[in-house]
Every structure is written in C-alpha cells, then in structure tokens.
Amino acid sequence: MDPRTFEMEDADVAWCPGCGNYFIIGAVKAALLELEIDPKDLVMVSGIGQAGKLPHYLKANVFNGLHGRSLSPATGIKVANPQLTVIDVSGDGCMYGEGGNHFMHTIRRNPDITNLVHNNMVYALTKGQASPTSPKNFNTPLQVEGVFLEPFNPLAVAIALDASFVARVYCGHISQTMDIIKEAIKHKGYALVDIFQPCVTFNKVNTFQWFEEHTYYLEDTHDSMDRNIAFQRATETGKYPLGIFYRNPHKKTFEENQSTYKDKMIPLYKREIEIEKLKDLIEKTR
C-alpha cells in the first residue's frame, strides 16, 4: 500500500505543537497501512474535542458528529453496512463524560468497532477544565479547590461490562501503540483502546515525563482471557499498567445478532423494498 494513502497534505491542523495527538495519528495511520485498509471502506467517527478533529487529518470517510455521541452513529454505521471498518475516536471528556451512557451501552451492544479514547485527563478544547479522568487535587479554573471527584476508571468499567477487547497504551510509545491499535482493529467486536496522552498546554501534571515514570507494561504472562485478573490489573493506581488487559473473542457482535444478517451481510443500502410482502401483511387485515 502507498505509504501516503492516508495523508491529507492540505489539512489545517489545529493541534498545539508537541501535542500527543501527533503521535496518535501517526500510530493510527501506520496501523491502517499495515492492515491495508482502503480509505474508502474506512469510516472514522468522532465527537467534539481536540481528539474529535483527528478524522479530518487523515484520508477516510468521516462522521464527525456531536459531543459525547460518537459511539451511537458508529454503531448505526457499522450495523447499516457491516463491510465497513469503523473506528471511533474521541477524547476522555467526550467518551467518559458527555457520552458515558453510550460508552456503557455500546459495550453491551458489542458492535464490531474500534474505540480509541485520547485520555489526557483534561478538557483541552474548552481550555483546561477537569475531565472525568483528572486526578484528585487537580486545580483548574472551574475546580478551584482541586478535583475531589473519584477519577473515572474506563478499563475497569469496560471489563466489568465484559467488553470484548480492553487495552491501554501510552502515545509516547509509538510502536507499542501502533501494535495494539492494530490488534484492536483486527479484533471482532467492540475494542476499547484508552490512550494515555499528555496535554502540553493545559495539563502540567500528567506530562510526558510523568507518563514515562507512572506506567509499565503488563507481563508477557498476563492472561488476557481471565476477566477477574484483568479487572484487578485495571484497578491498579500509582503505576499504571499498559497493554491488552482483556479479550473475550466468544461474543457475538451487534451485527451478527441482527436477523437481517443471519444469511448474508448485505448492507442495507443494497436492499430492495419488499412491497409484495407488505401487500400480504395489509391484506391480512381484511
């Protein structure tokens, strides 16, 4: 595949210099290239925030919808046309705050989509307020006494809901990030990749250095099929494990559960209206 397949030369990128997003988009493009996914069969879905702009900076079909809601259109797109590769990308505020309800229920629904969450523990686009994953005592213009809410733990929540693929990466480690995103895309079913990422402008606590010092990789012996152990590892604090925490390859996807796809995965746009059947249905009321 042409290495420039996903490049958008004339994109006017709105990210700050040094932003972790540059690492992430690099890893995403590399993963897509290795998997040889055709841009015209790829849909990037996002919400609002700095992460939500990512789809505009690579060549693909794009549904950049509303704040917090990206998983809903992503589900709708995938189920309307299961032949598409659907990647949902948004930030911690969008996914875990505004979209928390959809996060939970999309996991339950298990569409075959990849959910990348840029987790920089701060609201960047709105200039520095706390996010659901901000650490305690984090000071912001709105949390003037420091954050006192318990940080949201997306991995533990996802594993509790038996999400079919749960991973965490740190964007500073590009090749590991790329590998895990690749695994997530290949995985059949809903795949969560929580991406640790510094915000160079609004988060002076969780910096590149902080992530280097506060993360480590799950051991090779970690059994990602063991849900209880995965849950336990997801609740570790102080130093945060990276890697694939959990997989459940035995779950049917949302698409596979649709009676309309029981025989063939023909996208809805190729279906014809069954007018004769409708006439029969109506005639029954005579």
């Binding site: 609002i48 505009h56 509303l66 259109p73 709708g76 189920v79 309309t260 996208p267």
Partner: protein
Amino acid sequence: MFNKISGGNGNITSFLGDDDVSLVLCGEAGQGIQTVESILVQVIKKGGYHLFSTKEYMSRVRGGQNSTQIRVSSSRARAFLNRIDLLLALSNGAVEHLQKRITSHTLIMGDEKHLISLSSDQYNLIEVPLLEEAQKLGGPIYSNVIAAGLLSCLLNISINLFNQRIRDMFARKGTEILENDLKAGKAGYKIGKNLVQTGKVKLNIQNSPEVKKELLLNGTDVVGWGCLAGGCNFMSSYPMTPSTPLQVFMASNANEFNLIFEQAEDEIAAINMALGASYAGAHSMVATSGSGFALMEEAVGLAGMIETPVVIYIGQRPGPAVGLPTRTSQEDLNLALYSGPGEFPRIIFAPGKMEDAFVMSQLAFNLADKYQIPVFILSDQYFADIYYNVPSIPIEDVENNKYIIKTNADYKRHLLTPDGISPRGIPGYGEGVVVVDSDEHDEDGHLTEDLDLRRRMVDKRLKKLEEIQKEVISPELVGGEDYQFLILGWGSTYWAIHEAMDNMKDNRFSFLHFKQVYPLHSSTKEYLAEAEKTLIFENNANGQFGNLIKLETGHEIHRMVLKYNGMPFSVEEVVKNLKNVRGG
C-alpha cells in the same frame, strides 16, 4: 342509536338501534378491556358493520378506570362521539368515571355488584351475570370474553364468526384456555339472547356485505405500513407512550422485512444511531413523544448540518415534561418546528386520515432522502390508538426514488449547487470518501472557519426550502368553495370536524384540513381571504398552528377552539362550537 321507549326499573326498558350505536366498555386496567375491544373490532367488521374504536386510559398497569368506545354503524363512522348508548360497566367506578357522558338514554349493563350503588330511578340499568358465569368456568378472568360474546350477540353477529375470532386469538394459549374461552363466548351469547328475547335490548343496525371485505386499520399500523412502503429499514428508539406501538410494529416486523430495530439506551443515542445508519445508506427513523423528542433536539440540528435524512415520528401527548402520558394532544408542533439549534429546512406532516397516514409516511422517506433533511410525522395518542375500516389504501400508487449516487474519487459531499441539493454519496459505494461534520464545513465536509464560506453554506442549506416549497401537499377543502365560515384543523381532528360538518348540513361552512403543517402550502392565504370568519380547532392551549398561520400569512384567525384536557374533540363538541359561530 338506542331510543328509549320507556324506562324506570329496568324490567320494562327496551331499546331500538337504527344506524349508529356507541358502545363503551369501562373497567379497571388489567381487567382485559383491550381483549374485549380486540375481539369485537374484528367480529364487528367481519359481521359487515362499519366500525370505529377509540380508547382512553390511565398511566397505570392495574386499577383506575379505562374506557373504550366502539361505534357500530350502518354508514362510515370515523370519529370520537361523546354520546354513550350502551355502557358495559365492568367496575364499580365506571359510571362515575363517565358521568358527564351518561344521559337518560344511556343503557348501563353490568354485574350486580358493579351496579348496586346506582339508583334505577336515575339510570337505565340492566344486570347481567358476567362474573357468575365466569366463576363457573374457573374465575373472573373469563368475564371479558363473556362480555364480548354478549355484545357480539346483541349486534346479531353469528357465533361462528365469533368463535373463529376466539380461536385466532387464544389457540396459542393451549387447548384448555381456548375451550374455556369458547365456553365463555357461548355463555355471553346466552345472556345476550335472553336480553333480546325478553325485549330488554333491541338493536337493528343495517350491515353491508361489502364492509366484510374492507381493511380494518389502526392509526399506528398504517403509519408503520407507510414507513415500510417508503423503504424504512432501520429504527432505533426508546419506548415512550404513545409512540411505543409503532416501535412494537417495527420490532415485530423486523425479521419478515429484513429491517433493524434497536431499543437504544436513551433518545439521544436513538437518533444519533439513526443518523449514523442513514449516513451509511439506511432509510432510518426514530419514534418518540414530547419529552423524548426534547432529548433528540440536538441531533435534529446535526441532521440539518450534515444534510443526512431522518424520519422522526412524534406521538404527541400532553406536556410539559411527563404531562399526561396516556392522553392526547397537539402540543408539540412548535417543538418539532423549532427543534435544533441554527437554521435549516424541515418538513412536518400531520395526517388525519388512515389513507393519508400511509401515503405521507411513505413520502416522508422519499422527501427526507431527496432534500437530505429531517422529516416529521406528527401523530398523537388519539390517532395512534383508533381503529376504523376503509375500503383500501393506495399501495399500488407507491413510488420510491433512489437518491444515492456512486461517488467519484473527487467526490464532495456538500458540493455547492444551484438548488442547494448536493448529490448524496455514502461510504463504501464508489471511489470517493464521504465526509460530514457537525462543525461548519467546506464542500468536502471538512471543518472550516472561513466566514464567507459559512454564509454560502447557510444559503445552500436554506435554498433547499425553495425546492421543498414546490411540492408542499395542499390542504384539503371539505365542503364548497363558496363559504362564509372557514374551519381550520390539522392532524387527527380531521374526522371529528368532518362528521360535525356532515351533521350540520350547512353550506355556509367549509373545512380546510392541513396534513402538511410546514412549510405551508401557497394557497393557504387565498383560502383564508375568502372567508368572512375563520375558526380553528386544536388540541393545545395556545393555538400553535393558528399562530403559525398568522406568522406565515398575516391572517389572524377569528376564533380558536382549544381543547387541552387530554381528550380528543368529540363530534358533538365541534357541532356545538360551529353553532355558536353561526349564532345558533
């Protein structure tokens, strides 16, 4: 109707039915009134009688007082009547519940224990041993089928027809239950025969063989059929009365019609999912009601911005907030009309007849696709729950157009065109990529803050309204063109006003019914100008449609008749108001 010949102690009361009888069944939730209705509407229609049914019920699973009106008629009956000729009281509170509608002509039938507190000086009472007979069969649960048998017998419907209906309904419940229900029906017929033979009740409604072959339609199913005819293959929704029956319709037909129904976690997810599906080429819709739709509003703006079709069915009920969950209203016109931030075109339909509900639901999908906009179907609890018979619906006239194109490599989703309509591609079909964004965007779909381009994009989206305007459905004029008084109405009030006009037989009145309430048809102004006086009937407190007419045409409606207690207009109520207008 029943004409009282003589009254008093119940033994010497006799009734004659001529061309139209209003039966009302009233009891507590959970007593099975719906079962009686469901049995009767089928057998009445198959017995060759015209029929209409409507129900009013409380938002509870057990207890309270619910009632169903069934009109049995020798000519077409399609609207709610205030009048009750025969009340079947299945509970102690039934008579009190319907007090205002009971007159000296009303015959009240029921078990002794439900009538015992009522004075036979004041009411025409007939005791019938429903519970006693039910007990013989194993319990009070059978009393509703006994009641159905009784009424079916009074209507002179053959027991074979009745038994066939019982078999259709209860065979799946097992032999024992079916046998008992058949016995219950027989017991009901026996009570009925006794009443007829002793001359206590006499009905003589003319039936017509051609009615037997007609369609028995319900205001929800007919919308569902229209949606299927329009190609609907995706619905995501969250249950909310009175839109839930349409969701049930879609879910129960999903397998047969290869469509997808998904119960979303909330209305926000529902409409966003529908928009995702539509973006990928599905014909998608959502069904909801007032508060649920309020949650969808943000995404209505998204549909407008990303120019992605979606059909939105709103079953209206009284608000604000939870309001009266199981009652009817026309209060959400403004909500639909002004929903979503920013400015973009939309279409709002409000059918009032079964045939129109079918046609417009089918059309909704085509127009949503053609103009890439949200299209609304406004219904309400009254319309969603009624049944009546019609000869046919125009399914042979159904035409669907395909608006999706195969993209080229340089495809631009929001290409600026003279009519504002950009050819619509979908991902995975063609060589291009399809980019949509809730931000203001360029022709490619990528976000922009170019303020000049912003202005052109707003103009482009609004330009579509000019095209939409060219195919607005004209209002329907009932009555002559040479009128003095012009009655206005929209949506479900159609037949109540129509029947009132028929009863009045006064050619000074004509009735202009709007099945499309936005945009308004260009002829509206001319119709209004011809009238000496205009009046409008609406089920809301502000006259929302009347105000819209004023806004759009400058015409101030002379008189607004507004009803917002949660009940539909009755024919009598319309007649009374029309008489007031003409001065008696």
